[in-house]
Symmetry: C2
């Protein structure tokens, strides 16, 4: 093994931890369970990480960064904004339904971080990251649909994230697929109600302006 294995070991432990947490919950993700999943001896854990919390910090950054392509990948140009939103929400929900443990893990990590002072910076990072993805999707959707948003896109993103969180929690609680389907219809209606026909002749210029505004 080369010296590079130190960095690789950290990554392997993080990936193993993600699997353990998704399968059995954060409380079951002991250092023993993680090294067993990664097929390593116990001491390797503290060889790679100073503490369990240090690994969790790296794990959150890893998972939050990776989770966000599904929605963006579901964007389809040329459809009306209500359909685009409905499809995007469906894509997110399909991801949740196909791997519920993964989404449960994200919530468990949030609540653990909220209770751990050393990890206090993770929740704002996690939700800031969610909103940034949704802002991009909303701007792209508006541009494709020839509409503009009647409230600041940051505020609309907050609403959309709140809705998806609520959708997820409600479905995790009772696993009612039909109810989730109806809820997604309502979500699409509610969000699309904030769209109005674009006043700009060049939609892309409007989009660029909002992007600039968002960067401030």
């Amino acid at each position: 093994m080369t010296r590079l294995s130190s960095e690789e070991r950290r990554a392997a432990l993080v990936r193993a931890a993600v699997r353990v947490i998704a399968r059995s919950g954060l409380a079951s993700a002991t250092t023993r369970a993680i090294v067993a999943e990664a097929r390593m001896p116990l001491a390797s854990f503290h060889y790679a990480f100073r503490s369990r919390d240090e690994m969790i910090r790296e794990l959150v950054a890893f998972v939050v960064g990776g989770e966000q392509f599904a929605i963006l990948a579901s964007l389809r140009p040329g459809v009306d904004i209500r359909s685009a939103i409905r499809a995007g929400v469906q894509a997110y929900f399909d991801l949740v339904a196909s791997e519920p443990g993964r989404e449960q893990a994200m919530f468990e990590l949030l609540h653990y971080a909220l209770r751990t002072p050393e990890l206090a910076d993770l929740p704002p990072f996690q939700y800031g990251s969610y909103r940034r993805v949704v802002v991009e999707a909303l701007l792209a959707g508006a541009a494709h649909g020839g509409v503009e948003w009647s409230i600041p896109v940051d505020d609309l993103a907050r609403l959309a994230v709140a809705l998806t969180d609520g959708l997820t929690l409600g479905w995790l609680a009772d696993r009612d697929d039909a109810a989730a389907d109806r809820l997604m219809d309502s979500m699409a209606d509610a969000l699309a109600a904030f769209a109005r026909p674009s006043t700009e002749t060049a939609p892309s210029a409007s989009t660029a302006a909002r992007l600039e505004e968002h960067r401030s």
Copy 2:
């Protein structure tokens, strides 16, 4: 002490556990921490409860039952439905903001129950209970405001619960009061959009009919 103290002890331990969980999280709510909070010897815990999970089961029923008066108490007859919704959401949020640990505790209990097969019936009970309260509030609000809902009230309640869950999680993550305020405006707009002028001449009759329908 009379024989009644057995029942009282259970209640005292549950109340102590609620305080410990709200203050320090579910993971810190060990049997030792709970009996210390209740000023009891350790053995009293297993004298009152067969196991820690048995107490958590009783705790969830206790807290879910008690949490629900704030929204209903905020109902004000005679105002338009959008204002009524906005005020109800604000009342809920004020409760969350005044005691964030309590709401965090509800989420932690949900996720713990989702990971504990013996407690699998608690999440549906918890969210069913939330929705039942919101259904009542929505029906009362519609009756007072002279409107009716354009989608089944059960579905609208699901949307409302999703929104409040998302509002709570987002605020817990970054504690942005101003953003929460704007989000509550959007929530009220979104929910009020599902109201339309009542077609019935007697709103109370319509309300009674829907209540009957809901009981089926």
